[in-house]
Symmetry: C2
């Protein structure tokens, strides 16, 4: 039997009115009360909206987008594309920059789940957000495992890593490093590193893995890259994102390393911004148009039919964009 508002109220030890106010984010409520109500909702797998909406037959025509931060051009282009596609389908988007703040991501999720959106597209960096497991709202994920019933759309990270390493080697590099983020269990982006390692192994070369945390500031990242390049005679570097490749190119210039003669460089992402303003950078392009189209299409399928069968994973092909850095 489906849980009722009253069950939530009883378990949380509050009135039905209070539960209703939490769900509708209406009026003053203490953080403690909210947490009690949300905990009870989770425990009972109570889904306010789906029920309320299906009774009323009313959609909000809003979709929540939870991404790390649109200050990063990759997420900016992705969000911009998703917004345009959804607008054409009469949906508007609520934007959440979850940054590196799991609590903000949780707060957003709770607010979005409680009553405001028909679905969510999420591609943030915080892991272990158990709320994704708890609710029945339609969610599609970009490049990140959220929970067993949330489909993941990603580009072919493994092949991208392989292609990057191959490009560096064929351009003449034989001491090839990778600058990448921390690896996380189940994160599809690990594939970039795995592809790089697999290619080097096949060629009898040694992988050199340097983890630069995603949340490190550009200035600190620059310092680390400088130390790495000063202490290793790499002649090829694969950066698992283009912004790190730009920093690496800046450091190479400081160290009087000529690109590509002394150091070959391949990035990853290939946003319009990079292709337009840094045409020299050789990079692996993620198909942002296809990724956005698929994310939106899958979400709309789930909104139309909560029980529709979707794949667990959708992997889209990547493409080498040949600049002059490798």
């Amino acid at each position: 039997m489906k849980p009722k508002l009253n069950d939530v109220a009883q378990l949380a030890g509050v009135s039905v009115t209070t539960v209703s106010r939490v769900i509708n984010d209406h009026g003053y409520l203490s953080e403690k009360t909210k947490q009690k109500v949300f905990a009870a909702m989770r425990e009972l797998h109570y889904q306010p909206n789906n029920m309320a909406r299906s009774l009323q037959g009313k959609n909000t025509q809003l979709v929540g987008l939870i991404f790390s931060d649109i200050s990063n051009p990759f997420f900016a282009e992705l969000v911009s594309r998703i917004e345009k596609l959804l607008f054409a389908k009469n949906y508007k988007v609520i934007l959440c920059n979850s940054a590196d703040d799991p609590q903000k991501e949780r707060d957003y999720l709770q607010m979005l789940m409680a009553n405001q959106v028909d679905g969510i597209i999420a591609g943030a960096h915080n892991l272990g957000i158990e709320e994704y497991q708890q609710y029945g709202l339609p969610i599609i994920s970009f490049d990140r495992y959220l929970s067993d019933n949330v489909p993941i759309v990603s580009s072919d990270n493994f092949n991208g890593g392989w292609l990057a390493a191959q490009t560096l080697q064929q351009a003449g590099a034989d001491k090839i490093a990778i600058f990448t983020g921390k690896s996380h269990a189940g994160s599809p982006t690990n594939g970039r590193r795995e592809g790089y390692e697999a290619y080097l192994k096949q060629q009898g070369l040694t992988p050199h893995v340097h983890e630069l945390p995603f949340e490190l500031s550009p200035a600190l990242k620059t310092m680390e890259i400088r130390t790495i390049l000063e202490n290793h005679a790499y002649n090829g570097v694969f950066c698992s994102d283009d912004l790190t490749a730009l920093l690496t190119a800046n450091v190479a210039q400081q160290l009087k390393l000529t690109i590509p003669t002394d150091l070959r460089l391949v990035g990853y992402d290939g946003t319009a911004l990079i292709r337009n303003y840094h045409p020299n950078l050789t990079t692996i392009e993620q198909p942002l148009a296809d990724i956005s189209t698929l994310l939106v299409s899958l979400l709309l399928q789930r909104i139309a039919d909560a029980n529709c069968t979707l794949e667990e994973k959708y992997v889209l092909p990547v493409k080498l964009i040949k600049g002059i850095t490798a």
Copy 2:
């Protein structure tokens, strides 16, 4: 006497139910019907929400953000900052990339006005959107005239243009061009050009103004810049945005012009992205933190009190960021 739902219905020649459905964006409605209803609402200055909300005492805790396109790093950083500030005040944002599509901007405005947000922050590029004149919702504008009762927040564009020209001249340039967008009556960004012209005039130098439309693709812009640099012996260029400065630097490299020896270059905007990843570029920084804080603060004042007195214009100081390009 305030217009009622019934007055709108009579003028539009539709039923009260239809007007209600248009306002709530609920159920199927033909574009023609919607336009008739919106036209009647405008003519009568009918404001559904303010009335409905003040009766119910209920806010949506949503703010609409209408900006050109977050694919542009300037708007991405601005939107990201605004979102964070509003989140801290328990507001969420609905994002609209109005691109260069006035109809999309109008559609958004109508939807947002009709029933979904407590206020709007707008900084798009489409002009002559009469809807901004028509409704009573709290709106704050960034760097653009919208209507007489909408306060404008901008950075000191005139002083920025002056500072850019002065920096180029003091670095040794005496044939100094400006690459800027089309000028629009009443647009505060014209100030960048006016400041540049005023400084050159004061110094007895001739201004050379080249208008590159904002909406031109980077490839076409690059072609135009190449033609300009090939046909004029400029030794200094002020670009009224940093992205155009990046293109100009790329063209200079193609033409074997050394920066800053042959060509001195100053950009405008100084986003975190530019300062972090292109520290060499000399640019005029808009104070994005202060701009965002002020936009949010003014909007919240207007939301709390629709009749509060605000200035027409708020002008924030800019800052020279000294790289090595000038």
